[in-house]
Amino acid sequence: MKKSLFLPGQGEATRFAALMVISFILMFMDLRLPFMATVRGYLATAVYPLQRAVDFPGRLISDTSSSYQSRGKLQSENQNLYTENQQLRRQLLKYEALVAENSRLLQLLQSSPQADRDIVVGRLLGIDMTPYQQKVTIDRGSRNGIKVGTPFGDGNGMMGQVTRVYYYHSEGLLLSDPTHATPVRVLRNGIRSVAIGTGYTDKLNLLYLPANSDVVVGDMLVTSGLGQRFPADYPVAKVTAVDQSGEEIFATVNAMPLANLDKSTEVLLFVETESKRNPETEIAPTEIVDPATMAPENATVTSTVEISQSVNPENGVSE
């Protein structure tokens, strides 16, 4: 009986039709019903060993090549890393001071500092880059604290965000996917825009920039932090072409992502640390308050009503 399930013959056409219908129903369910994400999670974890197997040859090659390297090459590499480390440490000295100053200034403005993010290093296990979708598989999952929406990048800039999370691994959408939009701003003057993917890893389109806006080739684009997905001020892309011929209302601006979307094999995942996130203060608008009228933290309720109402309506409603 069991063997007849796989026998071709008169039953084949019926079986074909039945499985075809099942596939279409599955597609519908997968796209529509939220509980399918859980089902999918279990199934995907079951095939995860295959995903690891894909990574195995590459890892083997890099492991063997790193254990059989010439002494001279290692020495020069070591020297390079040493000088780079020195430079980075020098920059870091200034960075500490800047962070302290920044958080002091933000306190003066009664604005919450940005939530801190831990960095988790992951490897790309799979890449699916056809012009209609640009997806990657990363070998870090919910057990490493990854969530849906966790942004990731490489050393040069942002690469994309996580769209599905499983226990051992996760799937990410690249910036260049045609369905992906990244809120950005021009670093030089703060003009905001949305960078939308084109399906090609070396090209993003900037939307809604008026024809007379001040954008030139070479401008750096950083994340604006609007939309609450990407942390603010991480580099994204560099403007490569600007067309302001004036026939359209909006300028046509192209940009090239700074991250190596098609070459990186290691990614940095910016995982939000749980403790510092406070949704109330994050949603509150940043009001510019004159320092003179600003009350110290332990002041009486009556004097802070005005400020706290504008900053945080939850606590401010006393009357």
Binding site: P8, A13, M29, D30, Q51, K135
Partner: protein
């Protein structure tokens, strides 16, 4: 587990792995449709063991591995398998060139369905659409000879 069965599982697993192996961007367009190659071989030369159900299962695995909507790959893969099941007897006696041509036709159908269901722009003008057909068709003679020899060995060792 007999050798024939082992070979079947190993070849399909390898095909699945090759389907999701990360490639540089320029090479993605040339990725042969490994799973189709292997499925066609087993359907034509070991029809009693590779039916439409197994093909469906392979498609589901591919969906899970590539993060596609569940059911996307089974639809196109099963349609190709169904065509080859119908052609099965005559396909065996086709000259190799004609076999390649049929394979290319199957890949075209496969890609057309996938993109018709899930793409949002016209793709016939896209090179990857045609390159994958070409590489898969060119690989068929080699895959066929390799699998046939491996299968002969495994069958011989079973005796």
């Amino acid at each position: 587990m007999n050798g024939d069965r082992k070979l079947k599982i190993m070849s399909t697993t390898l095909a699945l792995i090759l389907m999701i192996l990360p490639l540089p961007e320029w090479a993605v367009a040339y990725r042969p449709n490994w799973i189709l190659l292997v499925a066609v071989f087993w359907i034509v030369y070991a029809a009693d063991s590779m039916g439409i159900t197994v093909v469906w299962f392979l498609g589901i695995c591919l969906d899970l591995l590539s993060g596609a909507t569940l059911g996307q790959h089974p639809v196109s893969l099963m349609l190709c398998a169904f065509i080859i099941i119908q052609l099965q007897q005559s396909f065996k006696i086709y000259p190799i060139g004609q076999q390649c041509f049929v394979i290319a036709f199957l890949v075209l159908i496969y890609l057309a369905i996938t993109r018709w269901l899930f793409g949002d722009k016209p793709v016939i003008d896209d090179w990857s659409f045609w390159m994958s057909c070409l590489t898969t068709a060119l690989l068929w003679p080699w895959a066929f000879v390799l699998l046939r020899e491996l299968r002969r060995n495994s069958l011989a060792s079973d005796l």
